[in-house]
């Protein structure tokens, strides 16, 4: 049981939770994730750690309401307990001085990018962060990102804030402007796919942090498998970060959609039960 110390709304559907987890706070590194389960009959879902405070013994998670489980997590309040949490899991991000690094994040992907950008900056890289979202309200953690980046570029689909355009437009502008040594991308799978296609064109090494379906998260079930460079890999123990140019994103997208029908039904049921309109 892990207590929620504070809760903050980034938008209607995105919340930031600061959770008591002293051991994880102590051992986690940038890139690690935790498995979280809400309720006795809850589902185990992976969430990348956004931040940690060793002194306070807390970790920070940023969660977007997507399905039943993320909604249950978002509905918890300060003082409530997360039933089960385990971690840190996965391999930590490989950090070194690469030169100039573009951190391309989309939506809630900005949250797990924060510690990576911070670690890259600390290692001496020039960090150019691109935060992209559909619209202004969905741009999160801009201020914190500015603290750990040499430059922050905001992209919105509708042009309501920053530059109008997709994350890939932002990346391409930087590539045309200066030499980029590495690109790190975290966001929806479809976004990472297009980031990967773009940087491949320019021959820029790219790392993507994958968020696949997992059950145990500890290297046991194989639900998270992806094809990387023609070989089956397990995101939970071989990842979550991979060479984006080797990832079969189409297969990953297909596998992510595997439970969509069941998930939709469950969500409807939950909304009906809570009295909301489906």
């Amino acid at each position: 049981m892990n207590k929620i110390i504070s809760k903050e709304y980034f938008s209607d559907n995105v919340v930031k939770l600061e959770v008591e987890a002293p051991l994880i706070a102590k051992s986690r590194k940038a890139g690690h994730f935790v498995m979280v389960k809400v309720g006795e009959k809850g589902e185990r879902i992976p969430l990348t750690i956004a931040d940690a405070d060793q002194q306070k013994g807390t970790i920070t998670l940023v969660v977007q309401k997507m399905g039943v489980s993320s909604t249950k997590l978002c509905d918890l309040n300060e003082g409530d307990f997360i039933t089960d949490m385990v971690g840190p899991l996965g391999k930590a991000t490989h950090i070194e001085n690469f030169g100039t690094v573009v951190c391309a994040c989309g939506g809630v992907g900005t949250a797990p990018m924060l510690p990576i950008a911070a670690a890259l900056k600390k290692a001496g890289n020039k960090v150019v962060t691109i935060i992209a979202a559909r619209t202004k309200e969905l741009i999160i953690l801009e201020e914190q990102m500015r603290q750990h980046s040499d430059e922050v570029i905001i992209m919105t689909d509708d042009g309501s804030y920053g530059n109008k355009g997709l994350v890939t437009n932002g990346i391409e502008d930087v590539i045309k402007r200066e030499k980029v040594d590495l690109c790190v991308t975290i966001g929806p799978a479809i976004m990472m796919k297009f980031v990967s296609l773009l940087t491949k064109k320019y021959n820029i090494p790219t790392v993507a942090s994958l968020n696949t379906i997992m059950v145990d998260g500890t290297g046991m079930c194989g639900a998270c498998r992806v094809t990387v460079g023609g070989k089956t890999k397990f995101v939970c123990v071989d990842g979550p970060e991979f060479d984006a140019h080797q990832v079969d994103f189409d297969e990953m997208l297909m596998r992510l959609g595997g439970y969509k029908d069941i998930e939709r039904e469950e969500l409807e049921k939950m909304k009906c039960a809570s009295g909301a309109r489906p």
Partner: protein, 494 residues
């Protein structure tokens, strides 16, 4: 008291003299009462085997000749005092029988259900040498453990006075529980760390309710709590805590029983299509996460045409689960013939009664999916048996050009697992074999790091509950000796 002294006790002698050996061997072996196959193939949670009645158990116990040289015990990885507990059942002392079991086994109600007795104790029974059916030792073990549990009068095994020495166990599966039980009896302060949210490892996530109810596993775990074993869930040694953290916390010995890990796949075309998963994933969803229940948030596919690839016990558990979740066709696809199947005979028999189809001498070579990426068909290569291979079993060889197409909407791949990579990856200096298992001295289960011992699937790669328990027991005995020797050395040098 050694085995011969026990056997020479008056009550045992009298009991032996009550019946002639011939009369005992003439009694037919008891039949385990079972749920009706048609009924049970649609009920997910009810146990198939119903257990013996006291009368049945006492009658069966009479069949045991109480041999001077009980070879059955040599067939038991944990060395249960088999004739003693069987004879206690014959006299009606069921509680005493349960107590005898607990002297050497941390999980008698579990072993009585899932051990392959026909390959162990029962295969060594004197009856089999006379071409008769072995005494149903497994059924009797289950009976005694169940009787005690249901009576509510659960005895606590004798434990040595506390020595205050802290011991850590990594993983709460059969190896870890067996180790923890023995170390607690030796007087150690034992803490078991479990990565998942539930205690029990494969007994919870792997073996289905219809073969081993979780409630029974919980009782055995509570018995360990009663002798002082502590359990911490949601904690991964090597990740949440390092081995060094444990040392700093004062732990003086560590047993690693972290079990099986990554499922093996066959690396064939289409294997990552939606609806194809490992047996670990399928069983974890259904057993650990209770995904088939209305109130569970975890989803699971309930296929109508389900193929399970493999011929082991896990494959049988998966296919029988699929049947219970509503599969109209639940099929085993196995590349050898039924004779070579590693699954227990009882599991195969039960599966057949429940309408499972056995498609032997077939090997999948390709999967085909629809636009959504969901599997719809599989191509099977027809096989025949050739010369015996390294395992001594006749190896399957392809019949050239002969393939079949099978309609499926769910496929469960159950062709084995590799050891869990977390501990081997995270403990510096720990010797690991080329298969990814932890290397140990087979006599002591000690690794090349003296304070770390290991056993179960993390050492064996993939075996049975009882072999894991045997490892745990062996590791406990040798760690106990190692600590005593170490302390003796320190004392001598003072």
């Amino acid at each position: 008291m050694d085995i011969a002294e026990e056997r020479a006790q008056e009550w045992r002698v009298n009991l032996r003299n009550q019946m002639k050996a011939k009369e005992r061997t003439d009694i037919p072996r008891v039949h385990m009462p079972e749920l009706d196959p048609v009924y049970r193939s649609h009920t997910r949670l009810e146990e198939v085997n119903l257990g013996l009645t006291p009368e049945m158990a006492m009658q069966e116990a009479k069949r045991c000749l109480d041999c001077a040289n009980p070879t059955c015990m040599q067939g038991c990885p944990v060395g249960i005092y088999i004739p003693k507990f069987v004879k206690q059942i014959e006299t009606g002392d069921f509680g005493g029988a349960a107590k005898t079991l607990k002297e050497t086994s941390a999980l008698p109600a579990v072993c009585g259900r899932v051990c392959p007795q026909e390959k162990q104790c029962e295969s060594q029974c004197i009856h089999t040498k006379m071409k008769k059916e072995a005494v149903a030792i497994g059924h009797l073990e289950r009976f005694a453990a169940d009787y005690e549990r249901e009576s509510g009068n659960i005895s606590v095994p004798e434990i040595a006075p506390s020595n205050g020495i802290k011991i850590a166990v990594v993983g709460s599966g059969p190896a870890g529980l067996s180790f923890a039980g023995d170390m607690a009896k030796y007087g150690y302060d034992v803490t078991v760390f479990e990565a998942l949210h539930e205690i029990g490892g494969v007994l919870k996530y792997g073996i289905p309710e219809f073969r081993l109810p979780n409630a029974i596993v919980d009782v055995e775990i509570n018995n360990l709590r009663a002798i002082g074993v502590k359990f911490i869930n949601n904690c991964i040694v090597g990740k949440t805590l390092t081995i060094n953290d444990l040392k700093q916390d004062g732990f003086q010995g560590i047993f690693v029983g972290s079990g099986a890990g990554l499922p093996r796949f066959m690396n064939i075309q289409g294997e990552n299509l939606v609806g194809i998963m490992s047996s670990n994933e399928y069983l974890t969803r259904v057993n650990l996460m209770d995904a088939a229940s209305e109130d569970s948030d975890t989803p699971v596919f309930m296929g109508k045409k389900v193929a399970v690839i493999g011929g082991g016990n896990t494959a049988m558990d998966s296919v029988r689960t699929a049947r219970r979740l509503g599969a109209e066709r639940a099929m085993i696809v196995y590349r050898r013939s039924e004779e070579e199947m590693p699954a227990r005979l009882e599991e195969v028999k039960h599966a057949k009664e429940e309408g499972i189809e056995f498609m032997t001498l077939r090997n999948p070579v390709k999967y085909i999916g629809n636009e959504q990426g969901r599997v719809t068909q599989m191509i099977l290569q027809v096989m025949e048996l050739g010369e015996p291979d390294a395992s001594g079993r006749r190896s399957p060889v392809e019949v050239p050009g002969k393939t079949e197409t099978l309609d499926v909407d769910e496929v469960i791949v159950s062709v084995g697992v590799s050891p869990n990579p977390l501990i081997p990856h995270s403990v510096e200096g720990l010797e690991v074999t080329k298969w990814g298992t932890i290397a140990v001295n087979n006599d002591t289960m000690q690794t090349d790091i003296p304070m770390i011992f290991a056993g179960g699937d993390i050492v064996r790669g993939g075996a049975t509950v009882i072999l894991a328990m045997g490892d745990g027991r062996k590791a406990a005995a040798s760690m106990h000796k190692w600590i005593q020797n170490r302390d003796q050395l320190v004392a001598d040098n003072c």
